[in-house]
């Protein structure tokens, strides 16, 4: 090395200064070892940092790093052994305190040792991939003290005992526990998890298993839930108080499993306090708690939903099949609405508007509303009722609200076409008798139906509205024309029109849009007949190529009648008018005569006569013999002595609001008939695009296509397919009988 003296500079063999002294390493280490002892003995304030650092530095520089490092490990290990013995020797309660005290002191010492060995830490440890001094201190503490079997077992027992005591309501020293768990965590997450947390979780599971049994036998469901909620909150608090945050999900999982998941089935099924009871008693708060708790465990909500669905179906079924309720359609629908509202509110307030629960509610309603075949009719009747009178005193928003709710129910209907049938009938009645309360409400309902079911569904309904509107306009024209001709003709014809010229209002309805069959026209009185002819001429002049036929059974008339001294104005149906006008000529007529003279169909005639003769206070005709029923041999006469306090009287035809059984059958039949072409159209549409398809797929697709309107019966579909094959729209595949082909 001396030979390399060249021009620039010589590098002193700086680091080999001490190697000459063979005892150097031993001597230096002795100094440091003593110092470490002093530090461990907490007697370090007299030591010189400068001196110790210099010695450690020199040892590293002179390649005695191994000696230094190994010496350090030995010294500290020996020291910790004695500490461990001291900790072991502590009795009872002070064990934890002693452990914590020793741990704090150890940390302090290690900090000082680290300070003087800083150079070794930076150079020797790094070059030789050793464990840094700080970590070394932790590792040795872990291995020598904490994992010392006698200490570990005792530590664990005491920790778990403390936690158990706190669970049972005792006050414990949380800050002490906190520092102990913190120590375990400082030693590494694995120490905390393996040596403490694992046992902690097992103990917790045992504890809560027992507790769950106790609670189950002593409390009812809401109370149990309250307790479980409290326990969960306690565990969260415990973690934040003196455990590591990583434990939180694990311990919560234990509590959830033991207190909720394992018990939830028995909980919801509890007599008098389970889910059903809570639902029936509107215990929103308890239900909210149940939801929140069950949500924590995997199948909790599923269980809740399933149970609720069953319950809803059950109560709903009771509701719709109860014959008592079915008598009152409005009441029936109102009841459904109340039920729906109740569960909506429940889901919103207690179940956090959970979508899955909303779906469950929908499927339940869909299930039981369609259990009753008359639901479509009732819903339509409910709307009819609301639109006739129910909406009078309500604001626009309220009206919208009611309509929206009914639309909810409508959505559940499978047989929407049946509903359409009834709705059309009821709408027609409302429009013709001018009974609808709010045009706006009618319109808005129509719009709702349109958005729900499409244009097709409401086109006829809309055309009904249009008919009414155009009729009003053409009536205006008709009246103007009459007045005009009066002025124009009075001069040359010189025949003034009679004073008692009757005023005619005609509503021209498009055939097909309105739900009515062609009924034979009755014989109108002459006065009427003339005016009708007038209108017919007027109308056909402006609308050539159309045919007018009179629907006399739908009309009504105002008559002025004189009964002896009292005069009255009677509001009657067209049929009744025809009957009454007969008595202008004669005072008494037999049933047969009336039938012959008016030509009114027998059933209608009977009803008309019934309301004219048999209703008390409105009996403008007398009947022989006096009875409630109209017989074929009865005789009717003008009731001279009729008296009433009212000047205006309305004599309404007795008419059933609800359909009678045969009528219902009739409607059903018509619905079935209407469905046939729709099903056929759907089949053809599908086959046109698919060319070949097997039977089951056709059925599935047809059902899907038509589900917005009704649920077609598979056997009906099969019949339609057969009919289409007959008419050579389709053919069966030659090889596979289940396969159909489309014939262009």
């Amino acid at each position: 090395m001396a030979s390399q003296k060249k021009k620039s500079f010589k590098i002193e063999p700086f680091k080999h200064a001490y190697t000459l002294d063979p005892g150097y390493a031993d001597k230096t280490w002795k100094i440091l070892e003593d110092a470490i002892r002093e530090i461990n003995g907490h007697n370090a304030s007299g030591l010189s940092f400068e001196e110790l650092y210099r010695n450690a530095y020199n040892m590293v520089i002179n390649k005695f790093g191994d000696r230094l490092y190994n010496g350090l490990v030995e010294t500290i290990t020996a020291h910790l052994r004695s500490i461990a013995a001291k900790i072991e020797a502590t009795q009872g309660e002070s064990f934890l305190r002693e452990l914590k005290l020793r741990w704090d002191l150890h940390n302090k010492s290690m900090q000082m040792i680290r300070d003087i060995l800083m150079y070794m830490d930076r150079i020797y440890v790094k070059h030789n991939n050793k464990v840094p001094v700080r970590q070394l201190g932790l590792d040795l503490w872990r291995d020598v003290v904490v994992r010392n079997k006698r200490i570990m077992d005792r530590l664990l027992t005491i920790l778990l005992d403390h936690i158990h005591r706190e669970r049972t309501g005792e006050i414990i020293d949380r800050s002490l526990l906190r520092s102990i768990t913190q120590m375990l965590m400082d030693l590494g997450q694995t120490v905390y998890c393996d040596d403490f947390e694992r046992h902690f979780l097992v103990k917790a599971a045992e504890f809560y298993q027992v507790e769950a049994q106790e609670y189950m036998s002593s409390s009812d469901c809401p109370e149990y839930l309250k307790k479980a909620e409290k326990r969960l909150a306690e565990e969260i608090e415990r973690v934040s108080n003196y455990l590591d945050p990583i434990s939180e999900p694990k311990i919560l999982n234990v509590v959830e499993t033991e207190l909720i998941a394992n018990q939830m089935k028995s909980l919801v099924e509890m007599e008098n306090s389970g889910l059903i009871a809570l639902l029936e008693q509107d215990k929103y708060e308890d239900l909210a708690r149940m939801y929140a708790l069950f949500k924590r465990v995997p199948t909790g909500l599923e269980l809740l939903r399933g149970m609720m669905l069953e319950h809803l179906k059950e109560t709903g079924k009771g509701l719709v099949t109860d014959p008592e309720r079915a008598k009152e359609p409005v009441e029936f629908v109102q009841r459904l609405l109340v039920e729906k509202e109740k569960y909506d509110r429940l889901i919103n307030s207690s179940f956090a508007s959970d979508k899955t629960f909303q779906n469950m509610l929908n499927s339940a309603f869909e299930f039981f509303i369609n259990l009753n075949q008359r639901s479509p009719e009732y819903i339509s009747l409910f709307m009819d009722d609301k639109l006739r009178k129910g909406l009078k005193d309500m604001s626009e928003d309220d009206v919208e609200g009611v309509l929206d709710k009914v639309m909810m129910l409508f959505r559940y209907l499978q047989e929407k076409d049946v509903f359409e049938k009834y709705y059309k009938q009821h709408l027609a009645k409302r429009l013709l008798s001018n009974r609808t309360v709010s045009d706006e409400a009618e319109r808005s309902l129509l719009v709702k139906l349109k958005t729900e079911c499409g244009y097709q569904f409401t086109s006829k309904l809309e055309s009904m509205f249009n008919d009414i509107k155009t009729s009003r306009e053409s009536m205006q024209d008709f009246k103007n024309r009459n007045r005009g001709s009066e002025a124009g003709t009075s001069a040359d014809a010189g025949a003034p029109r009679p004073e008692d010229e009757l005023e005619l209002t005609v509503q021209v309805l498009t055939t097909g849009s309105w739900p009515m069959s062609n009924v034979a026209k009755c014989n109108l009185p002459r006065e009427c007949e003339r005016t009708c002819e007038d209108f017919k001429d007027f109308y056909l002049k402006t609308h050539s190529g159309r045919k007018l036929s009179w629907q006399t059974h739908m009309g009504n008339a105002d008559l002025k009648a004189t009964f002896g001294t009292s005069k009255h104005e009677l509001n009657v149906s067209t049929h009744q008018m025809c009957i009454l006008l007969l008595f202008n000529e004669v005072d008494s007529m037999s049933y047969r005569d009336i039938l012959g003279a008016t030509g009114i169909p027998a059933s209608d005639l009977k009803r008309s006569l019934q309301s004219l003769a048999c209703v008390k206070g409105k009996n403008v005709l007398k009947k022989e013999p006096m009875s409630k029923e109209i017989g074929e041999s009865d005789t009717f006469s003008f009731n001279e002595g009729f008296r009433s306090k009212l000047y205006k009287l309305k004599i309404s035809t007795v008419s059933a609001q609800k359909e009678s059984e045969p009528e219902k059958q009739d409607t059903r039949h018509r619905v079935e008939e209407d469905r046939k072409p729709q099903i056929e159209a759907a089949i053809v549409r599908i086959m046109k695009s698919r060319r070949t398809l097997d039977h089951n797929s056709i059925v599935a697709q047809v059902t899907q296509q038509l589900s917005a309107r009704f649920l077609p019966n598979p056997t009906v579909i099969k019949k339609r397919i057969e009919s289409l094959i007959e008419r050579e729209f389709l053919e069966r595949d030659a090889t596979d009988r289940k396969l159909y082909r489309y014939l262009a």
């Binding site: 060249k6 620039s8 700086f14 940092f49 800083m118 150079i123 790094k126 030789n128």
Partner: protein
């Protein structure tokens, strides 16, 4: 005249007039909250962009204005200018440990302050020696009126708290920022403290602020970073000179009494300041905050004595100078430089160690490569080690016989724990890498390896005595470097074979 209009139209003369004569601020924003540079960039006035940047317009990375200017750049050329002049300049001056360290010292209770100023409720902590070094006027006050006061209360009717704070901060950072409405009282304060330069600059600012009617916001005086650093360093030179003064000389002078740490080296005393030594050296930081004798503060303001007996005074002075000023004499002889580096390593002053390593680079040559390499490896100084290995690779044939080389190879082998057959030796790998770099990177084919390798080895003895033989260069250049490369690789293999390892 409107600066923004001139910038938009590209009127350099007007802009120059406004900026240089009227001292219009370039940091102002128009109604759309955009700075002038933004419009110059947007409208594509390259000359204006350069001009504005040269006059201190800011275009800094990750600032709203900076990114906005860059985004607005009309063409790539302007974009490039903004990146080069704006972002990079900022990056260059962005991070300076010395300046950051000084800034941290200010008003920081952890940095051993020894004087506290109070105005009303505002308390500011500072260091006597630093104030004295920065301002002769303060020096006088500290030496006389405030000599024995740790806390100095100032009268609020004479000093605004904010001004005092800003001004004291300026002593540490060269950056003064005061609210515009405090500007006048700050100027008065500068006058009172006889800070004439600063007073002048502030007056100018006040003038221009009044000219543009900018009465809100804050006024900033900030020289370019290099200038600021140089000024602070110059001031600290005074302080470090005071530290190293002999006891006898310093007795009468003003500021040298304000030390709190004495380094003893034989009969010499270096009167230093914990504030600086602790922050610049982990050794002192740890020592003075530890629970050992040195770290125990028995009474308020006691002066700690630390023995530095095994040091060279020259080394200590150089290191102290670095601690205070961040400067190291570039002309130090190599031996001293190395000693300073060893000292820095021992005292854990990373900055000084790196600086030494940089300065040592020119000293690497055939004779010093190996010992320096040993030092660099010992001190964990990778860049120096790499340069040494490179030099070693050049002179390998001469140095391979040195016992120190074998020793270093042995050390390197020892660093690989649980050595396996297939493990290589890091040092040998590095040398081989550099040989590859020196003599062309191309991998040899097996044939060449055999053909060229064996004869080269035979030649070796004659090549070891100093330089590459002249004659060897004759055949062809490529041939030569091939054979030299072969020789070196073979020599390395020989060393390993001697040690008894295959790698």
């Amino acid at each position: 005249m409107d600066l923004f209009l001139a910038v938009k139209t590209g009127d350099l003369e007007t802009v120059r007039y406004l900026v240089e004569v009227q001292a219009v601020s370039l940091q102002q924003h128009d109604a759309w909250n955009a700075p002038p540079l933004y419009y110059a960039s947007l409208c594509g006035h390259e000359h204006l962009v350069r001009f504005l940047l040269s006059r201190g317009a800011k275009c800094e990375e990750k600032t709203y204005d900076g990114e906005r200017c860059l985004y607005a750049a009309l063409n790539d050329k302007i974009w490039r200018i903004l990146i080069d002049e704006g972002f990079k300049r900022q990056a260059a001056r962005g991070h300076d440990q010395y300046l950051e360290f000084l800034e941290r010292c200010f008003d920081n209770p952890a940095s051993f302050p020894d004087i506290e100023f109070t105005v009303q409720d505002t308390r500011v902590q500072a260091h006597r020696f630093l104030l004295a070094a920065r301002s002769p006027y303060f020096g006088k006050l500290i030496a006389r009126r405030w000599r024995n006061h740790r806390s100095v209360a100032l009268f609020p009717d004479r000093v605004e708290p904010e001004c005092l704070y800003a001004l004291l901060r300026w002593f540490y950072t060269m950056r003064l920022e005061v609210p515009a409405d405090e500007l006048q009282s700050c100027i008065r304060l500068c006058k009172a403290l006889k800070l004439h330069d600063l007073e002048e600059q502030l007056t100018e600012k006040a003038f221009s602020a009044a000219a543009i009617g900018d009465e809100y916001g804050s006024v900033v005086v900030e020289p370019m970073r290099e200038d600021a650093k140089a000024q602070l360093q110059d001031a600290m030179e005074v302080a470090v000179a005071a530290c190293c003064q002999r006891q006898a000389d310093s007795e009468g002078t003003s500021s040298s009494g304000d030390y709190d740490l004495v380094l003893e080296l034989g009969s010499r005393r270096y009167r230093c300041h914990r504030a600086f030594l602790c922050a610049r050296s982990d050794y002192f930081g740890t020592m003075l905050n530890s629970s050992f004798r040195e770290g125990v503060v028995d009474s308020e303001g006691s002066i700690q004595h630390v023995s530095m007996d095994d040091m060279d005074p020259q080394v200590l002075v150089s290191a102290l100078r670095w601690v205070y000023t961040d400067r190291l004499d570039a002309d130090l002889p190599g031996e001293l430089l190395l000693q300073v580096m060893r000292f820095a390593d021992r005292m854990i002053m990373e900055g000084l160690k790196n600086k030494c390593a940089v300065l040592l680079h020119p000293h690497i040559e055939q004779s010093t490569a190996l010992p320096l390499l040993a030092e660099a490896l010992q001190m964990d100084c990778d860049r120096l080690a790499d340069s040494c290995i490179r030099c070693l690779a050049v002179h390998l044939l001469e140095l391979v016989q040195e016992p120190l080389f074998t020793e270093l190879v042995r050390d390197s082998i020892a660093t690989v724990q649980n050595r396996q057959e297939f493990d290589s030796v890091p040092l040998i790998d590095d040398v081989r890498f550099h040989i590859g770099q020196l003599h062309g990177d191309g991998e040899l084919s097996e044939d060449e390896d055999d053909d060229m390798g064996m004869p080269a080895l035979a030649d070796m003895p004659s090549a070891t005595d100093g330089c590459v033989p002249e004659g060897a260069a004759a055949p062809s250049n490529g041939q030569l470097s091939m054979s030299e490369r072969q020789q070196k690789l073979a020599a390395l293999d020989q060393v390993l074979a001697d040690i008894g390892i295959e790698a």
